[in-house]
Symmetry: C2
Subunit: 196 residues, 2 copies
């Protein structure tokens, strides 16, 4: 009652949604991915940097290449997922700032230095990764985000330009049989929140 | 229609929600913050690391200290916000893993090395920052996340242990007059998503 969001939406996005490890065969369409993107693109990033880039791995050849970079525990479920997406940060996001942050033409000049720019790209793309996971759930699908992979291998194989770094690989689909483990405990409010 | 989440919830969380720069005087209660946390705590992090920590800045003294570390453009709105929260990553999150990831007792041993542990803390706490922003909106409130501050000063002043790093300062409340700028453009689907 304290929240405005209706209980069904709370369940869909947070309480009943779970990280899935198995999926049905039902395909995930480009229309679904576009609907997810067109919703979550509005969530905020610093200076509207919007550095997230998404690669949908649809061909058998690309799927096999992707799986070759994953940790052993992630291979089988990724081979079987209806759709696999690689979510990465674009370190050259600042080239888009004249378009994305038009009321402040000097925005791009804040990011001439590569180290700070890369950190900003990864931070803001991480926010967008989280929004994307919520968006997948908003489409009635389950997400299976993974970070267990050879990041250098994945970056080189899928982004040969050296200007992107992978943040997560996300399996997407309808949850299958025994899709998840029992939920692990969360920290209590008083363990996380303090007041000064 | 492609999404399962109802249109009102889509509007509340993404389409009509905006980063607010002014707020009404209506207070934000601890009950609201607890309801937000108790919803978004379920969203996923790697190995359930849950490294986000939140400091609610409620006293005038703490508010003045916080504002002293902010960039000039962020001072006035932060002085006026009903509630200000500091969201930080706990670099020692691995101490909680025996509780948070009980089915894999070796989890903590993956994080003995400080550099990788800090990166993991900041990455996963960034996901949780994004979930928190969505949760603020789920409570019918507006969030005003900011990253323009002296991070070293803020870390030292509010987390003297050297074991936390601030990710964002978030103003929270009901939007006031002229609360936001016109929405900046977003990247189109085809600029962000490719298929292989």
């Amino acid at each position: 009652m304290t929240l405005v969001l209706d209980a069904a939406a709370q369940d869909l996005l947070f309480r009943e949604a779970r990280t899935a490890n198995t999926f049905t065969d039902e395909p995930v369409t480009d229309e679904q991915v576009q609907a997810i993107y067109d919703l979550v693109k509005y969530a905020p990033t610093s200076m509207n940097q919007s550095p997230l880039r998404i690669v949908l791995v649809r061909s058998d050849e690309a799927r096999a290449r992707l799986v070759s970079h994953l940790g052993d525990g992630n291979k089988k479920k990724t081979e079987a997922a209806p759709l696999v997406a690689i979510l990465a940060a674009d370190h050259e996001f600042h080239e888009e700032l004249p378009k994305l942050f038009p009321h402040y033409p000097a925005a791009k000049s804040h990011f001439e230095e590569i180290e700070g720019r890369t950190a900003s790209a990864r931070f803001n793309a991480s926010l967008q990764l989280a929004y994307f996971i919520i968006g997948v759930r908003a489409a009635g699908l389950a997400a299976g985000p993974m970070t267990g992979y050879d990041a250098d291998g994945l970056n080189k194989d899928f982004f040969g330009d050296g200007e992107h770094s992978v943040l997560a690989v996300v399996n997407i689909g309808k949850p299958g049989e025994d899709a998840w483990f029992p939920r692990s405990p969360r920290l209590e409010y008083d363990e996380v929140v303090t007041t000064v």
